[in-house]
């Protein structure tokens, strides 16, 4: 094992005796460059016995840090060559920082804004939920696969869990508010899914409900056409088809023509030419009754959209983990 302190001492002298930035850069490359001393030593880790590997790596990292600090302080000491002249601009131009909202927030705000213009309030509910509000009141049967441990993250199985859908907010809203009302609620939901490039255990849903006397599928489809046109422009092609969800009857599937291939069929849309954006329908009479609303007097629609893929397409994000990961960043001043 080479004596790392000896290595440090040798290069320390070289660094501290550098008189100008060129000399300092030369030593820096010698020590910290790609083919520098430190990297050479790192490549030797694999030849070390198992018990030494960790301590050697740790020590090497410590020395590397020391070098970095030393170079930094030496760099500050090296004064620019005095020339006959003057500094005419002290303030830095181009470093003014602009703040940014997260793409999910921007998308939520855009959709909120549209729903507000249609008279919707924005609503909210807890992320730690009970089985009653997440499943029972939404007509999801006890044997439904969504209730399995493989799908739901439990805090106390089977009663306390992390909500798997923002429909739980719908259940609370129906219970708390008196009709008529209209509300939309963006929120985070959790599923017991392995995290990889295309799957995450956290998703972002955008859900909404309208309860009044004469709500129809026409009202609901009109809302979505308006939303899709606002977000994607007037040329957008949407498709509204029959779909089953336990909490609605009749149910509706919401599809958009594929953003990538424009209906021709590609990998993104699995050749079908359409991308599923969400689900909706007329609220099931059982769900209304469970919350104390008389389905003979009132009728409502409910919808749910998944935001993640929507945002990924808009911001050209290829990995779903980026949305909640440390590598999503914003250009500071443009």
């Amino acid at each position: 094992m080479p004596n790392l302190n000896k290595v440090f001492n040798r290069y320390q002298k070289k660094i501290t005796s550098a008189e100008n930035s060129r000399q300092l850069e030369k030593v820096r490359i010698e020590v910290l460059g790609r083919k520098g001393k430190i990297n050479q030593l790192f490549s030797k880790i694999k030849t070390k016995p198992q018990e030494e590997k960790q301590s050697f790596g740790k020590e090497l990292n410590r020395i590397k840090g020391k070098f970095e600090n030393l170079i930094k302080s030496q760099s500050a000491k090296i004064l620019p060559k005095k020339r006959a002249g003057k500094r005419i601009e002290k303030t830095t131009v181009g470093l003014e920082k602009i703040g940014h909202l997260h793409p999910i927030t921007i998308t939520e705000n855009e959709i909120n804004s549209l729903f507000r213009s249609m008279g919707f309030s924005i609503y909210d509910g807890p992320e730690i939920e009970t089985d009653e509000y997440c499943f029972e009141r939404l007509n999801v049967p006890k044997t439904h696969p969504a209730r399995d441990l493989q799908d739901t993250i439990y805090i106390e199985e089977p009663e306390i869990l992390l909500r798997t859908q923002t429909s739980s907010v719908e259940a609370r809203l129906l219970e708390k508010e008196k009709p008529p009302f209209k509300a939309a609620f963006p929120g985070r939901v959790y599923r017991n899914e392995k995290v990889n490039k295309s799957n995450h255990f956290i998703f972002h849903h955008y859900q909404g409900v309208a309860v009044d006397r004469n709500i129809s599928l026409k009202d609901l489809i009109g809302v979505f056409q308006k939303l899709f046109r606002q977000i994607y422009g007037t040329k957008v092609k949407a498709r509204y088809r029959c779909k089953y969800y336990p909490e609605v009857e009749p149910g509706l599937g919401l599809d958009l023509q594929c953003f990538q291939c424009h209906g021709k069929g590609c990998q993104l849309c699995k050749g079908g030419g359409w991308i599923e954006m969400g689900g909706a329908g007329i609220i099931h009479p059982y769900v209304m009754e469970a919350s104390g609303i008389d389905p003979k007097k009132w009728r409502g629609f409910a919808f749910g959209l998944g935001l993640d893929r929507w945002v990924m397409a808009k911001y050209k994000i290829s990995d779903i983990r980026t949305l909640l990961g440390g590598n999503l960043a914003y250009k500071p001043n443009r």
Partner: protein
């Protein structure tokens, strides 16, 4: 569910639509077609069948829907079995009575089992089922056609004395056809031959398996209590084609047709004769459901006019019996096949489905009617804070609320307990955060690894904890700035905008960095007046980027004879470098050298999603420098 177009046509001889049109129409009917594939002469449509339509996990069910939609006849195989004078009664017993809906079984003798003909093995392979032998393949073929699983037992192995029973600890192990051994549960529903477990209700066993030497077989087809099948599949962790179907509501009235069809094709293909009387266990038929339908409702639900004539036509085509009851009402008895139809709304959906969802106009959204604003004030506060912080130059981050144990940060003075989840996806992240600082510290570490300069960011999210067996969650704001004093000043500015001048702010140090955290629900209590209109007007430009490499910072000195406007120079070089890899461009210094009578502009360029070698090359080229130049 996969549908081979040529097989579908056997049920619908008058079908004239192309496979693509059929796939699109099935999608509109609720069976999402997620792919069409041409394999040799065959076209296969891949469908996501509605969860409540067990009948549509079959060619028969799909063809039935299409026959109503296209208004063409549905053709089913004519069953013409040879009359048998056999008086042999199968020695079958059913002790699991509560769990069994219907079983039909028959014994065939003198059969000759062989390998399957090409048409059959090809058909099964299109459904991703391996060919085993002719008899087994025919049972699988019929399961696909009618959606009701069936099973053949070799009587030379099982003796034919079959019992449908709940295990109750009698049998310990079960060996599947492929040799996998399962530990049986006490409550497992199985078919035994009174010595061992011959089969599970959703999975065949090795004990009485059909092979090429089989000459006598008992062929059964059954429908069970679907919840029991689901629970068994879950407890044994088994997922089979049969199980997926038996977990749904299937029609026991379809069994005679499907079983008869199976017996017919076995006799045609394997020879042999019927050597027993038909065993039919069907103790309790479901009483027909009578549903009252208000004829005005389908139009009211759809928002378009649907005439009484159309309603009656659709219901009759579906196989419903209808009878007028008073003015404007029908009494409807749905067909047995349609177990999913049980309330008035189910009928309404059927009517709209076959009328066509695409007939509903798309340009008439819900009327804008002024209703009371029920938005919780905290949401207005969050919106306001996010905007203020973005204006102050902070970036919003969103992170995982589940954290590593070493990142658990407890706010000072909080006596509550952290909340652990029972089945976290990633066991390294088992705790719900008690403070946003946990998430921000992790975020900072991540940004550090990408060498992101001048970090200043915030997150608003929930924090969670448990106090005296109660679960609590609150909205909290966490903020980080690489210069703590600036952080304090900025937060003060933000609070002033909210009308709060004298707030005490505390900097918390965690993982070597300084943060400020504010409980927003506490803050809300102190705010007298909150603006209620949405303030967010940020344009949706592409500001956010997915970093794949470290940010690379490089300097360049440019010497000019004349003084230039720094902003214009930045614009010029930004354009030259291009947007793709330029993170930031700034001029950090302008110096006039009297001796040389020239201006030195020091640029600092930051590059992203590019390796350092390529960045350096790009940098030198765009600034017109070489390695030996004055930089």
């Amino acid at each position: 569910m996969k549908i081979v177009y040529s097989e579908l046509k056997k049920f619908l001889p008058d079908l004239k639509k192309t496979p693509r049109q059929v796939a699109d129409d099935l999608t509109m009917l609720g069976h999402f077609a997620d792919g069409i594939k041409k394999t040799g002469p065959e076209t296969v449509i891949s469908l996501e069948v509605r969860q409540n339509r067990g009948d549509c996990l079959s060619y028969y069910g799909i063809a039935k829907d299409l026959s109503v939609f296209y208004q063409i006849p549905l053709s089913t195989a004519k069953i013409n079995l040879p009359k048998s004078s056999q008086n042999y009664h199968l020695p079958i017993r059913v002790t699991a009575r509560k769990e069994t809906v219907r079983i039909i079984a028959l014994r065939l003798s003198g059969i000759r089992n062989t390998a399957s003909p090409q048409w059959l093995s090809k058909f099964l392979s299109l459904h991703e089922i391996n060919s085993i032998n002719l008899l087994v393949d025919l049972t699988n073929y019929i399961t696909l056609l009618y959606g009701i699983p069936c099973h053949a037992f070799d009587t030379a192995k099982s003796g034919g004395k079959l019992v449908w029973e709940i295990n109750r600890g009698k049998y310990k192990k079960f060996l599947t056809l492929d040799g996998t051994e399962f530990e049986l549960k006490r409550e497992t529903f199985l078919i035994s031959d009174r010595i061992g477990a011959a089969s599970l209700v959703m999975l065949g066993g090795k004990r009485a398996a059909i092979d090429l030497n089989t000459t006598e077989t008992v062929i059964e087809m059954a429908v069970y209590d679907r919840v029991k099948v689901r629970l068994d599949a879950k407890s044994l962790n088994i997922a089979t084609e049969a199980g997926i179907r038996l977990e749904k509501d299937l029609d026991p009235e379809l069994i005679p047709q499907a079983h008869g069809h199976l017996i017919q094709i076995v006799l045609e293909n394997c020879g042999g004769k019927i050597s027993s009387r038909l065993y039919d266990y069907y103790p309790k038929k479901d009483a027909p459901k009578r549903i009252s339908l208000d004829l005005k409702k389908p139009s009211a639900y759809a928002g378009i006019q649907i005439s009484k004539k159309e309603i009656v036509r659709i219901l009759k085509d579906l196989g419903c019996q209808t009878r007028i009851r008073g003015a404007g009402h029908l009494v409807v008895i749905p067909p047995n096949l349609r177990k999913d139809i049980s309330i008035e709304e189910d009928l309404i959906e059927e009517i709209i489905r076959f009328k066509g969802y695409n007939k509903i106009p798309t340009d008439q959204p819900i009327a804008k009617k002024s209703l009371t604003d029920i938005t919780p004030p905290i949401l207005y506060l969050i919106e306001k804070i996010k905007t203020s912080l973005a204006e102050l130059g902070y970036d919003e981050v969103r992170s995982w609320p589940l954290i590593r144990e070493k990142y658990l940060y407890r706010p000072e003075g909080l006596k509550a307990e952290p909340i652990f989840v029972q089945n976290s996806v990633n066991e390294d992240f088992p705790i719900l955060r008690m403070s946003i600082i946990s998430s921000l510290a992790f975020q900072k570490k991540q940004y550090q690894s990408y060498k992101l300069p001048d970090q200043q960011f915030f997150e608003i999210g929930r924090i969670f904890y448990r106090e005296r067996s109660c679960y609590s969650e609150f909205y909290s704001l966490g903020i980080y700035h690489h210069q703590p004093q600036t952080l304090l000043n900025d937060i003060k500015k933000m609070l002033v905008k909210l009308g709060l001048k004298h707030q005490k702010l505390k900097i918390s140090r965690f993982k070597g960095a300084d943060f400020i955290e504010i409980n927003l629900e506490e803050l809300l209590k102190q705010i007298k007046k909150l603006p209620k209109r949405s303030l967010v007007r940020e344009k949706t430009g592409s500001h956010a980027y997915e970093l794949t490499n470290q940010i690379i910072t490089l300097d360049a000195n440019i010497f000019l004879k004349e003084k230039k406007d720094s902003e214009k120079l930045i614009k010029k070089y930004s354009k030259k470098i291009g947007e793709k890899h330029l993170w930031q461009l700034a001029i950090s210094d302008v110096y006039y050298d009297r001796g040389k009578r020239e201006y030195k502009y020091t640029f600092r360029a930051r590059y992203f999603n590019i390796d350092d070698k390529t960045a350096k090359k790009l940098h030198l080229r765009k600034f017109g420098l070489t390695n030996s130049a004055r930089n």
